[in-house]
Amino acid sequence: MKLYEYTAHQLHTMLTEKKVSARELAESTLQRVRNLDENIKGYVTVTAEQALAQAKAVDEKIARGEEIAPLAGIPMAIKDNICTTGIKTTCSSKILANFVPPYDATVMQKLQAADGVLIGKTNLDEFAMGSSTENSAFFTTSNPWDLERVPGGSSGGSAAVVAADEAVWALGSDTGGSIRQPAAYCGVVGLKPTYGRVSRYGLIAYASSLDQIGPLTKDVTDCAFVLKAISGHDPKDSTSVNSAAPDYTKALVNDVKGLRIGVPREFFVAGMDEEVRAAVMAGIEALVRQGAVAEEVSLPHTDYAMPAYYVIAPAEASSNLARYDGVSYGYRGEGDDIVAMYKRTRTEGFGAEVKRRILLGTYALSSGYYDAYYLKALKVRTLVKQDYDRAFEKYDVLITPTAPSAAFKIGEKSADPIELYLQDVCTIPINLAGIPGISLPCGYTRSGLPIGMQIIGQAFSEETLLRVAYTFEQNTDFRRKPSLKGV
């Protein structure tokens, strides 16, 4: 087995037992990136020098006999909408193509303190708006299982580099499914934490009331380690929850006896791929064999989550993205007066999907439409949330497909925005409710593409999700390496 193929928890043991050095690990991963990334195109920026310097520091700590953090010396990748001091943070947008933040996101401060080794910044749909990375202003990332297919999105770069062993683990962000859906498409584990569990400070906002940062990893154990490293209260984020994060690694217990699983019927209807449905059902059965109990449940407002999301997220985005005006940072277009400059800057700097959502959001907030659209959507959000509150009175977790199908072909859905929006139909309600969800591989299509299963829990039930996912992983055999078809 090559070094880059191991999981973080395996590598941690190898590092502390001095079977391998952080430098060897970094070099091996960087070599993998050099060999593979021209095909995968997962990275926007590769930070080889920093990686080697960070690895050296970890090796010195080990040599001095100091204790190292679980993620110390482990190569990681960060979605390029998370601010990194002195390293370009582009959001895969022309408007931020040369933006170098003078500050670190809180998660980056935490990871730096934990001696993580940054391999690079990963591609995304511009400003995290999309489900395929096709909206990146730079290039589309390929799915390691089939280079002609999308890796999902918006954290497609992060999911692809983890699946292709170009990083041991990665951070993504999830506003409507942007961690879970690419995790499903690329056959890795992806977790969207409870809203407020992980600080958003330094995460370039798409829709502030929905955005959360979370891990993309090779297995559930790594997911727990990364979540533990990035969680916790942050006084710089008013929406960060003021309570200590538990030790998520303690939740890695192979036991679901008596677990009550709800299977929401609204998630298994129209447009659902039959192979996906069958794989998820088989996954639920696997948990039942381990002692869980499953029954059907109804979440009646599920259908309305998508329209509510496509009002709320664009509305917030229209305001969040107003600041890209060419005045104090980012791209500036030519214009003789300030209004002309604003228009040129934004028209040239943003891609089509971003502009579409800005227009939608501006409209939804504009005078005369606020009540009909924005306020209405916030009320529907309440009803969606109440569906889940009621379900969790009876069930410990809900299980659904992560996406209605496996990875689709590049270009297949780019003509019609709405068809692309439908890729997030299973994940969006979870963001509206603010609750956590984890996606992990639960099967493969006949053509060999991974299928994702989503486990949903109530607010702050990440430990339960990890325990269920861990039990599933321990008792099934769906963790596989991608075929790299087309490389």
Binding site: V100, P102, V339, T347, L359, T362, Y363
Partner: protein, 137 residues
Amino acid sequence: MAMPPARLVVLLVQSTLHGHFSSGIIIFIMVKYVLLRKVKRMKLTREDVLNVALLSRLEIRDDEIENVTRQFNDIMQHVDRLNQVNTENVRPTAHALPVCNVLRPDVRQTSLPREKAMANAPLAEDGFFRVPKIVEG
């Protein structure tokens, strides 16, 4: 009203045929529905879209406007499904979690050195950001 209008009309006509409704009531219901529909399904014109574009400080070229307006209306048609939900007496949720009173003490923190604060400036002069002349939008 969750039912598509065509089906509703058919239903109503059938009901009338079966003598369930008086014709006065059915006319009343149909008129009311048509009025409601008009309010709900008002299509955006290109002028509406151009006005939203101006508010957003975005330009839409003449050759794009038709396509943009059509897509806009397609999406809004999906969004209009929200009207099927009864939200009477439902409170809006602006925040996923019921957190309040997050405050910081009035303590000064170090500011950024100016060269760092302005390192990404497209145009700077004498420690100021420089912008084209100000006109009202």
